[in-house]
């Protein structure tokens, strides 16, 4: 009997496998409901454990779910637009900012929004999250009627952009401590408010006190579907009406289907590999770094392997932002012959014939740390591994959990470490260029765990932090990028296009380059 049970089990397993394998052929899928006009279902990926906007990066989720709003926001071209602040100005000495708060805004619990409330909310963010101080430091914040006045010690050209960061979502601090924001969600001003939230699934309901027009849906259900294939299938089957970030492997299914609408845009993100160049690491030799970078055929990775869902990488800042992408010169374009020559020059030779180069008894072996919650990261890593093997590198891919990545990056426990980073979450790449490459003297700049240090680069960064003139800032940012390229500071793989796909019975779904605004009041049933 035992024998037959085993055979039966094997057959069933194989059968199940074949069925799932073949089922994909028909593409479309059926949407059963056609969309309930009162309920919106959005398939997302959620990393937040709570909706407390000051905890880690959880504010992003508060904003994406249509819950929280800031004083300012970014439009489709990353220009700063008024939001809860209707206008702002800076004094002649560049030290005093005055934001005029809209006076028709109410929190979802009915409390009117005043400059005092905004002040308390911003101070709360500073008190609860040290990241706030990496954006700006203030001398004083004062409220005068609907005017919010922020005094700073140094001139801070990026102020309106800083306040668009979801860390500075305006919450009703008077609702605390009666309401525990981390358990019940914050009280904000957005079109929807929390009904229930766990990491895997959130339910939002209409904010009846919304200030900016009518809110279309009674309820928004937001399941977090972390696996990109499952998310695609949920959209195909009608389990969700909207899905964000459909992976390269699946996007073709929707492209040829007139039931779905795709909004695909160049994001502000860059996928890069940090290269550890601390003294005892192999990559401290600039020639080896140059060889590594020009041994990678980045055009093929992005155009073929990722089916053009990524733009081939070159510089730190993506071409979607106007910071001289085309005029920057990459000294390390794909050229395997040059890469081999550089390695020879640096003294790395394959003396024992195993295909891996050595120098002074040390193998050319590099530890490449990746995580795989984003589908493209392992793909890049494997492509690099395959390309560089031909040059005599032995790349060991070390897949770790996403939660470990940050710590490993700060401590420098890698040779290469892959990251998918937003370059301009304040509207310009100053912070991005500072965090990852400014000299880290005794932990002064912890995000730079790679050991990269160039005094010329630091000097230009200092200049940038004081500069108000738009054209001069642009030129400084271009210069900074060129220094990084010349130094072979990091390996820039590519720039993701992000997408949001919706069934056509829903309207107004837009993906913004900042990636902050997913569910907005503009999303409504199609007529």
């Amino acid at each position: 009997m035992f024998k037959w049970k085993k055979i039966l089990a094997s057959v069933l397993c194989a059968g199940a496998l074949l069925v799932t394998g073949c089922g994909g052929g028909d593409g479309g899928g059926s949407s059963s409901s056609g969309g309930d006009p009162n309920v919106l279902k959005v398939g997302v990926t959620n990393f937040a454990d709570t909706l407390e906007p000051t905890q880690n990066y959880f504010g992003w989720v508060v904003m994406r779910y249509g819950l929280g709003e800031c004083l300012t926001k970014f439009d489709e071209k990353m220009n700063i637009q008024p939001w809860l602040a209707e206008s702002w100005q800076v004094s002649d000495d560049h030290l005093t900012w005055t934001f005029k708060i809209r006076d028709n805004v109410k929190f979802s619990n009915g409390t009117p929004l005043t400059a005092e409330a905004v002040k308390n909310s911003i101070e709360r963010a500073f008190a609860k999250n040290t990241r706030a101080a990496t954006f700006f430091e203030y001398e004083s914040i004062t409220a005068d009627g609907q005017n919010l006045i922020i005094q700073t010690k140094n001139p801070l050209p990026g102020m309106p952009g800083y306040l668009a960061d979801p860390l500075f979502i305006i919450v009703d601090t008077t609702a605390e401590p009666a309401r525990d924001f981390s358990k019940e969600g914050p009280i904000c001003t957005g079109p929807y408010m929390v009904e229930s939230f766990v990491k895997e699934r959130a339910v939002m309901k209409r904010n009846e006190n919304y200030w900016d027009g009518e809110v279309p849906y009674q309820t928004v259900e937001i399941p977090s579907i972390d696996d990109p294939n499952t998310r695609a299938m949920a959209l195909q089957s009608g389990d969700v009406d909207i899905a964000v970030n459909i992976a390269a492997g699946d996007i073709d299914i929707f492209k040829g289907n007139d039931k779905f609408h795709i909004d695909e845009i160049a994001s502000l993100r860059v996928v890069l590999a940090r290269l550890n160049q601390k003294p005892d690491h192999i990559l401290s030799d600039p020639k080896v770094r140059a060889a590594l970078i020009c041994g990678c055929d980045r055009e093929t990775y992005n155009d073929v392997l990722l089916k053009k869902t990524f733009i081939p990488g070159k510089a730190p800042v993506p071409p979607s932002l106007d910071y001289g992408f085309d005029q920057l010169k990459d000294p390390n374009v794909y050229n395997p012959e040059r890469a081999a020559k550089l390695l020879d020059e640096a003294g790395w030779k394959d003396s024992d014939g195993d295909g891996i180069r050595e120098k002074d008894g040390r193998k050319l072996e590099l530890d490449f740390v990746v995580y795989n919650s984003r589908a493209e990261l392992p793909l890049y890593a494997e492509a690099v591994q395959s390309d560089l093997k031909k040059l005599g590198f032995d790349i060991k891919i070390n897949t770790v959990d996403y939660n470990l990545i940050d710590g490993m990056g700060i401590k420098g426990e890698y040779d290469l470490l892959i990251s998918n980073i937003t370059t301009a979450n304040t509207g310009d790449p100053e912070i991005f260029l500072t965090w990852y490459w400014k000299t880290n003297a005794d932990g002064s700049n912890p995000q730079n765990g790679s050991g990269y240090s160039n005094p010329a680069y630091d000097a230009k960064l200092n200049e940038l932090s004081m500069e108000f003139d738009k054209d001069k800032r642009r030129q400084l940012i271009i210069d900074l990028q060129q220094i990084l390229l010349d130094d072979g500071a990091s390996l820039f793989f590519g720039y993701p296009q992000t997408n949001i796909i919706n069934a056509k019975y829903v309207d107004g779904v837009v993906m913004y380059p900042s990636d902050y605004y997913w569910i907005t009041k503009l999303i409504r049933p199609a007529k």
């Binding site: 035992f2 024998k3 085993k6 055979i7 094997s10 057959v11 397993c13 194989a14 496998l17 074949l18 799932t20 394998g21 073949c22 994909g24 052929g25 593409g27 990109p228 294939n229 695609a232 299938m233 992976a247 492997g249 699946d250 073709d252 299914i253 055929d297 093929t300 990775y301 073929v304 392997l305 795989n372 589908a375 392992p378 793909l379 890593a381 494997e382 492509a383 591994q385 395959s386 390309d387 093997k389 031909k390 891919i397 070390n398 897949t399």
Partner: protein, 272 residues
């Protein structure tokens, strides 16, 4: 042996199939039509064609070549694991069965503890802590699987221990190690071999399972479980990346299961 083949047609057929699989595994580098590691990145996710009989994967590597190379990896891992399980299990089983007393109690309570855990979950935990690699997968499954063998061997040894020929050997002053080696081991070996043979299929599935979850073989190793996982992302657009490695697992596991069963029929006198 020839007798056995004549008597048992099915056993002959299954043995032939097993030999064929072993042949593929051993000569994989010569049988694979293309390099299983190095593909043409300009030629990714191609459907099956005359050039690539089973299509190409996400890095443009030939799927057929990778499946053939995977036979070697998967079979090597499985056979190593089963042999290690048999050795470790036998040593612990013989020790506790023959000597009894406190040694037995400690070892068997430890075995009970291991058996009380859900095996695969524990293996995932161990492999997760050790980090994914071929060797660590084997260690993890070994740590989980030995208890079953130790229990089996122990019960066999207890049955043997009081037989006259053992007592005679003891009375004659034979060294303990010689008793174990000369008298006990040959008597338990057939049972251990049968159990091992029947476990090959199961172990192969568990290894593939761990690799599928990312705790086993790491890229670019052509391991079937890992290939399934890689193909999962393209399940709708390039289903051949899952179908063929899945079929390979199915065929090999089924063959070894059938072979293990018929081997038992042949070796176990009670079944005849």
């Amino acid at each position: 042996m020839i007798e056995a083949f004549k008597k048992n047609r099915l056993f002959a057929i299954y043995t032939a199939a097993v030999i064929l699989i072993l042949f593929v595994a051993i000569f994989a580098p010569y049988l694979a039509p293309q390099d299983p590691f190095d593909g043409n990145m300009r030629n990714v996710l191609q459907p099956p064609s005359s050039e690539h009989l089973l299509g190409t994967d996400k890095l443009g590597r030939d799927t057929l070549s990778r499946i053939i190379a995977g036979t070697q990896v998967s079979l090597f891992m499985t056979i190593c694991l089963v042999i290690l399980l048999a050795i470790v299990g036998s040593i612990i089983g013989i020790t506790s069965g023959y000597f009894g007393g406190k040694v037995e109690m400690i070892l068997m309570r430890f075995a009970d503890m291991m058996l009380a855990f859900p095996g695969v979950v524990l293996a995932i935990a161990i492999a997760g802590i050790l980090g994914g690699s071929v060797v660590n997968t084997i260690i993890a499954l070994l740590a989980v699987g030995w208890a079953k063998y130790a229990r089996l061997v122990r019960s066999l040894v207890i049955k043997l221990r009081n037989n006259d020929f053992i007592i005679a050997a003891q009375v004659n002053g034979t060294k303990t190690i010689n008793i174990l080696w000369r008298h006990i081991l040959p008597n338990i070996l057939p049972m251990v071999v049968i159990t091992g043979a029947m476990d090959i299929g199961t172990m192969m599935m568990e290894i593939a399972g761990l690799s599928f979850l990312g705790f086993g073989a790491q890229p670019p190793t052509p391991e079937w479980g890992l290939m399934l996982n890689e193909g999962r992302q393209y399940i709708q657009t390039a289903p051949w990346l899952m179908i063929y490695p899945g079929a390979a697992i199915f065929i090999v596991v089924a063959t070894f299961n059938l072979w293990g069963d018929s081997l038992r029929d042949v070796l176990d006198p009670r079944q005849q």
